[in-house]
């Protein structure tokens, strides 16, 4: 397990997402209201890139005609077939047990900490005064 510096935190403002490569694999990093989440970018259904999916909320219902909408912006819908994934857990709505995205630990670290290493940051110059998104994989 290595720690990968994948982006400047300022590149992924709240509501945004960024597709990065970690160990040669696509990982999509989401920022939900300042919290970062990193998930495998590949939909387990047919392999579409989830980084291209629309964000939505969770709609639940106790009976026909009732729409309880919560957690706006915390669900990503696959751009190909519309499957919904909970960004906080990686689990699909329709088959949460079997159809889920791999999750990665993600943190935001000040550049000053990163100078110490060990980190994998081939594509970055780390500046002491910035914050960075770090994915463990």
């Amino acid at each position: 397990m290595a720690r990968h510096v994948v982006a400047r935190a300022s590149e992924i403002p709240p509501g945004a997402r960024k597709l990065v490569q970690v160990n040669g694999r696509g990982v999509v990093v989401f920022n939900i209201k300042g919290e970062f989440f990193a998930l495998s970018d590949q939909c387990p259904h047919k392999g579409a890139s989830l980084s291209g999916g629309k964000l939505t909320g969770l709609v639940e219902s106790g009976e026909p005609g009732a729409y309880n909408y919560s957690r706006a912006g915390e669900i990503v819908r696959c751009p190909w077939h519309g499957w919904e994934f909970d960004i906080r857990t990686g689990r699909s709505y329709c088959d949460p047990r079997r159809m889920r995205l791999m999750q990665f630990n993600v943190t935001v670290e000040p550049g000053a900490n990163l100078v110490e290493g060990p980190y994998v940051a081939e594509t970055f110059k780390v500046a002491v005064e910035d914050n960075y998104v770090v994915v463990e994989a």
Binding site: T56, S61, G62, E63, P64, A66, G82, Y93, C94
Partner: protein, 357 residues
């Protein structure tokens, strides 16, 4: 082989109203006179043309009255020789095609009274479906309330082909009444023919018409699930009668696949359509569509992840089988008992009830 049927519950047999006089006897004076005055000879549809081979098996056409026209005829043909325990009468007299809702209601009442008098009261092994004027759900509920006190009525009968998909809220008063009384919803092949029987217009031949019935069952199953009928009425069970059975697995693959993509359109469907089907839908086993070489019925059970969905039915007097080959091949003794007895008892809460007199 006859011992193999002991106690079986025949979940689909069809009493035939022999003539209009049989119904007039159960009508109010106004409606009885109206039938005479207007020269109404009766209501029948092209669903089962009188001389089509399927409509009545050759040996059941013999006799006057015909075996399907009186309780003793059915008893002699089926109940007695096979020692069935119970049988559910689904009278297909076509009240559904009558445009005048009040006349439809009057005919439905007459049909139900005829079934009670000439069938239920004549043989203690018989049960029946309530025929309703679904054209007007309020009148349908009145009809249900009329017969619900008699626990020998165990089901509410719809035709699969109607004006609107059956899941729509217009029909919910009927389901509310059904749930209240422990009545099962029965959806039988046939149509009121206000729409073409296919989604692409009228076919030319009877062959196509009968084969297309399963397409209407697709529509009704999709509607009942999508509209949330089983969310709203969680105790409700629906039986798909004379549907052909095996179409259901591929349709559920399709329904479930697209539900995964657009489920936020129907958020009350919070689990796979297959789960709703397992909990709420049952199918009668005649006819059973399978390849000529036979099918491993266990494979269908695997696909449905349930061995509780199939209900025994003869579909008497329709010609679905010869002799007593009433079940498809490949059913072992324990599954046979479930299909013949246990599953019907579970599908129809009222079968366990006592007679109301």
């Amino acid at each position: 082989m006859s011992g193999d049927w002991v106690g079986a519950i025949d979940c689909d047999m069809h009493p035939r109203v022999p003539n209009i006089a049989a119904l007039r006897a159960h009508m109010s004076e106004y409606w009885s006179d109206t039938v005479e005055l207007r020269g109404i000879e009766g209501f029948d549809t092209i669903a089962y043309p009188a001389n089509a081979p399927l409509t009545v098996r050759p040996d059941w056409r013999e006799g006057k009255p015909r075996p399907d026209e009186h309780a003793a005829g059915y008893a002699k043909a089926m109940l007695d020789p096979h020692k069935f325990g119970l049988a559910i009468c689904n009278c297909l007299y076509a009240v559904q095609i009558i445009r005048d809702e009040y006349m439809a209601a009057a005919f439905a009442t007459a049909v139900n009274a005829w079934v009670k008098t000439e069938w239920l009261d004549k043989d203690a092994r018989l049960r029946a479906s309530i025929v309703v004027p679904a054209q007007n759900p309020e009148l349908a509920v009145e009809e249900i309330e009329r017969w619900a006190p008699d626990s020998r009525f165990v089901q509410i009968l719809f035709l699969v082909g109607g004006e609107q998909p059956l899941g729509q809220s217009r029909f919910w008063p009927i389901y509310r009444a059904a749930e209240k009384h422990g009545l099962t919803i029965g959806i039988h092949a046939g149509s009121n023919y206000l729409h073409a029987v296919t989604g692409s217009g009228w076919p030319s031949y009877y062959l196509e018409d009968y084969a297309a019935q399963s397409l209407a069952f697709h529509t009704q199953l999709g509607s009942l699930i999508s509209e949330g009928v089983f969310v709203k009425f969680p105790k409700l069970k629906a039986v798909l009668i004379e549907s052909g059975v095996t179409w259901i697995a591929p349709y559920l693959w399709r329904l479930t696949k697209f539900w995964r993509g657009v489920r936020n359109e129907v958020p009350w469907i919070d689990r796979s359509p297959l789960e709703f089907v397992r909990d709420h839908i049952r199918l009668t086993i005649q006819p059973f569509d399978a390849p000529a070489a036979g099918v491993e019925i266990s494979r269908l059970m695997d696909l449905m992840q349930s061995d509780e969905m199939l209900l025994f039915a003869s579909d008497f007097p329709h010609w679905q089988f010869d002799g007593d080959a009433m079940l498809p091949a490949g059913i072992d003794a324990s599954l046979r008992k479930k299909i013949l007895i246990d599953n019907p008892l579970a599908a129809y809460p009222r079968l366990g009830g006592r007679h109301a007199t």
